[in-house]
C-alpha cells in the first residue's frame, strides 16, 4: 500500500447550512450559507482558494451539471472547479478531491462544497427518475427504501434473528438518532420519538416503516483544507487532520454472483479495512471515539456497524439494544442526528458528517459535545445494497 493520506492534510475551516425543507432557498442560497461560515472559520478570503470540488447527486432537479453552479454562486475568481458525483458518497468525494489536491502539492488551499436542493419535486421522498437507457429496461422497479429493506430479510435469515427483535433494534436506532437530532439546531428533524411510534408507523417498504427512513432535505456543507504547515502559519493551533480516506465501489459481484448473501455491504468492509490500515488503527472498537454512518435507513446503520468492524457479525442488533451506540454509550453514533434527523441533502451529506466530527474534536459541538474524542469516522453508502459506492473517512486530532 502507498503510504496513504494520514496527517498530510488538515481542515482549515468548515461550514454547514441549516438542513431541512428549505422552501425559502435556492441551491445557491444554501451554498453561500455553508461557505460563509466555512470562510469565517478558516479565516481566509475567497481569493486564497486555489481550487474547488463541488458535489451534487441529483443535479437534474436543481442546479444542473458541471462546476459552474458553485463558481457562479460564490463568484469564484476563475479557479478550477470540479463537479463530482458518486451517489450518496458525493460529498465525501468533493472532500477527497480537495484533500488530494493539497496532498499532491498542486494546491495550497482547496475548497469542497456539497449541495442538494431536493424539495422542488412536488412530493416526498427522493425524486423518481429515469435510471438510464439500458438500466430502465431491466432494473427492478425499486425505491431506495425497498432496496435497503432487503438487508433486513437477508440479515435475519442469515443470523437467525427473529424479525421482531430486528425490527425493535432498528427502531432503537431511530429513537437514538432523534434524541441526538433534537439537540442540534441545524438538524432537519428535531423531535424525540418513542419506540412504539417507530414500531407502529406506516410501512414504507417491508419491514421499513416511516421512522426507519431518513429525511429528504435541502442543505449544503463545506470544508476548506490545507497542509498542517500552512494551517499553523495562518494561526491555527488545534488542528483536525485527515487520517484516512477510502472508497470502495461494487464491481457487479453482489448483483450478479451468488457469493454474496445480501446481508452486508461488501464495499464497506473493503473500505473500512483499508481506512483502518491507512489511519494506523488496529482495534476500531476501542480506538474510534465516535462515528457518523450512512443511516439512510435504520437497517443500513445496523449492518454497517458490523461492516465497520465495530460490532461482531450478527451482533450489532444486541449492541444497539444495549445502548452501545447511544450518545452516552461507548461509541456514540450519529451524535448530530445522522441522516435520519440532521437530514440527507445527498451531495452535502458526506461533508455534513465531517463537519460534526470536526466540531466534536475541536470541542465546539455545544450541547452535543462528547468527552474528549480523538478519532471520528464517517461513512457513506450510495446506491443499493447489491450495487453501491461506500466511503470511509477518518479524521482526528493532529499531533504533529
Amino acid at each position: 500500500m502507498a503510504n496513504g493520506i494520514k496527517d498530510k492534510v488538515a481542515i482549515l475551516g468548515m461550514g454547514c447550512s441549516k438542513f431541512g425543507e428549505r422552501w425559502d432557498s435556492e441551491a445557491d442560497d444554501l451554498m453561500v450559507e455553508a461557505v460563509e461560515e466555512c470562510l469565517t472559520d478558516a479565516g481566509i478570503e475567497r481569493n486564497q482558494i486555489d481550487a474547488a470540488w463541488f458535489s451534487t447527486a441529483i443535479e437534474e432537479v436543481h442546479v444542473g451539471k458541471s462546476g459552474v453552479p458553485l463558481s457562479v454562486a460564490l463568484r469564484l475568481p476563475y479557479i478550477p472547479v470540479t463537479r463530482v458525483e458518486n451517489y450518496c458518497a458525493s460529498g465525501t468525494e468533493a472532500f477527497r478531491g480537495a484533500v488530494y489536491a493539497v496532498a499532491s502539492g498542486a494546491a495550497d488551499i482547496a475548497l469542497a462544497v456539497g449541495v442538494e436542493k431536493l424539495k422542488d419535486t412536488g412530493y416526498g421522498g427522493l425524486p423518481q427518475r429515469n435510471r438510464g437507457v439500458l438500466q430502465s429496461m431491466y432494473w427492478a422497479n425499486a425505491s431506495a427504501p425497498g432496496s435497503f429493506a432487503q438487508l433486513a430479510t437477508a440479515y435475519s435469515t442469515k443470523h437467525g434473528v427473529d424479525a421482531a427483535d430486528l425490527k425493535r433494534a432498528m427502531a432503537q436506532i431511530s429513537v437514538k438518532s432523534h434524541d441526538n437530532g433534537a439537540k442540534n439546531p441545524k438538524a432537519h428533524l428535531r423531535k424525540p420519538i418513542d419506540i412504539d411510534t417507530v414500531l407502529n408507523a406506516p410501512m414504507i417498504a417491508e419491514p421499513l416503516g416511516l421512522f426507519d427512513c431518513c429525511g429528504v432535505s435541502d442543505g449544503s456543507a463545506a470544508a476548506i483544507v490545507t497542509t498542517p504547515e500552512i494551517a499553523r502559519s495562518l494561526g491555527k493551533k488545534d488542528l483536525v487532520s485527515v487520517k484516512a480516506l477510502q472508497l470502495a465501489v461494487s464491481n457487479g459481484t453482489e448483483a450478479s454472483h451468488n457469493s454474496w448473501d445480501g446481508s452486508y455491504f461488501m464495499t464497506t468492509r473493503k473500505a473500512s479495512e483499508r481506512a483502518y490500515k491507512e489511519a494506523g488503527i488496529d482495534k476500531p472498537r476501542e480506538q474510534i471515539s465516535m462515528f457518523e454512518c450512512h443511516d439512510c435507513f435504520s437497517v443500513t446503520e445496523l449492518v454497517t456497524m458490523e461492516d465497520l468492524y465495530l460490532s461482531k457479525e450478527g451482533e450489532a442488533w444486541k449492541d444497539v439494544l444495549d445502548g452501545f451506540y447511544n450518545a452516552d454509550g461507548q461509541i456514540p453514533c450519529q451524535i448530530d442526528g445522522g441522516l435520519k434527523c440532521f437530514g440527507h441533502p445527498i451531495g452535502a451529506s458526506g461533508l455534513r458528517m465531517l463537519y460534526e466530527m470536526y466540531l466534536q474534536i475541536l470541542g465546539r459541538a455545544g450541547e452535543r459535545q462528547l468527552d474528549n474524542p480523538v478519532h471520528g469516522m464517517t461513512h457513506n453508502l450510495g446506491g443499493f445494497p447489491h450495487q453501491n459506492v461506500s466511503s470511509v473517512s477518518i479524521v482526528g486530532r493532529y499531533d504533529g
Binding site: A149, Q150, A205
Partner: protein
Amino acid sequence: MRGIVAYGGYVPRLRLQRKSMVEANSWFNPGLKTKAKGERAMCNWDEDSLTMAVEAGRDCLAGDRPDNVGAVYLASTSLPFDDRQNAGVLATALNFGENMMTMDVTSSQRAGTSGLINALNAVAGQDGPALYVAAEKRRTKAAGPHELLYGDGAAALMLGTENVIAEFLGAHQTAVDFIDHYRGQNEDFDYSWEERWIRDEGYFKIVPRTLEGLFAKVDVKPEDVDHLVMPTVMGAVPKRIAKMAGIREDAVRDNLHANMGESGTAHSLVMLVDALQDAEPGQTVLLIGWGQGCDALLFRTTDALKALSSRRGIKGSLARRREETNYNKYLAFNNLVTQDMGLRSEVDKQTALSALYRKKEMLTGFVGGKCRKCGTVQFPKSNVCVNPNCGEFHSQDDHPFAEIPAKVQSWTADNLTFTPDPPQHFGMVVFEEGGRLMADLTDVDVGGVEVGMPMRMVFRVKEHDDQRGFTKYFWKAAPDQAGA
C-alpha cells in the same frame, strides 16, 4: 401425416368473480343479475395478449423443445402493436433465432382457426415445425354484458409432420360478411348487434352449411365426432348445431364460461387444448371458428397423444387461480377508469429503440452468459466474467435463463415506488445454475412472499409508455406453484 405435435395453454391467475362485477353494476343494468355465477379470467396489470402468448408458447415447448422451429404465428385481435410484428417479439422471447417465418394473424374472431388452417397447410412444405399461438385480452365497456362473458387467455400448438398427436384430416371454410359485431379502426370497444339475430341468422345458418362442406371432403361421419369444440358466448347454441349436423350431443365441449370466459380469437384453440387434455388416442375432434363466416377443422388423435410430456395446458392453468373480488382493480388494470396515479408516476418512459435492439436477446429473450473458462452462469452477459476468482475477458457464451428454476434470497413489498398494483414486490432472485437478478416479482400476494420461495421467470409488461404508445417488456419472477 401432418397435424398437432404438442400443445400448451395459459390462463391468467386472477379470476374476477362475476358476483362482484354484477354487484357493482346491477344498479345501472338490472339485467346483469342473472349472470352473476362463476368467474372470468383477468390479466394482471402486467399481462397482455403478447405475454400470455409467450407463456402458452413456453408451455407448448415444455419438456421437448424442437431445435428447428421454422415458423411462429400469433393470432389475436388485441395485440399490443398495430405495426411492429408481435409474432416477432414472441419468437424473440422464445429464443428461436432469426431464420424463420413469423406472422401475425388478426382482424377477426375467426383469425385463430383461419390462420391455423393455413399454418397446417404450409407446415408439410416447410423446414421444421411451426409454433401457432392464439391469445386474446379484449377490452369491454364497463357495466355491459360482454365484460361478464369475456375472459383472457391463450393457447399454443406445435404443428408438424413427425410425432403427430392429432392428425389434421381436413378443413372447410366459408367467408360470409355477417357482422355480429365489429371494432372500427382506432376504436377501443366492440359494437354488437342483437343476439337473437346472430343466433338464428348467423350461427344456425352459416355453421351447418360449413359443416356440410367439411363432411363432404373427409372420410368421417358427423356421428363419429368425439369432441365438438365450438366457442360461443351463447351456451345453448353448440348443442343445437350438433343436432342439426348429426353430431352426438355428448361430444359438445364445455365452453369454459363458468371458470374462464370467452377468450375471443384464442378461444377455439383454448377449448381445443382443453379437449386434447381429455382426449383418448383415436378420437375425432371437430374444431369450429366463427367470425364473418366459419372455419371447420377435423383432427384425429393418435397413440402419440399419451406419450406427450406433462404440461400445464388449459386445465393446469385453470387450476392455478386466485379469486379476485375487487371490480375496481379490474377497471384500473384495463384502463377503464381515470385513476389519480400521483406525481411519482410521471417519469419519462421513453425507450431507446437502438439500445433495445442491441440488447434484444437479453431483454426480450432473457439470455445471459456462461463463462467458458470457469463455467459461471451470469446475468447480464458481460465483457468480463463476474466470478471474483476468474474475471476473464470476452469469455461468455449465450445462456438462456428463462427456464432455470430460481429462489428468493431477499425481498420487500415497496409502498413508495409507483406501480399500478401496489405494493411493488421485488427481490434478489437467485438461479439454480448460478446467476441472480434483482427482479420485480409478480403474481404474488401481500404476505405471501418468503425467503427461499421457489420462483419461475415470466415475460411481462415492465411499463407502458402512454406518451408514445410503447409497451416495454421484461422478465419477472412469479411463484413456481405446483402445476404452474
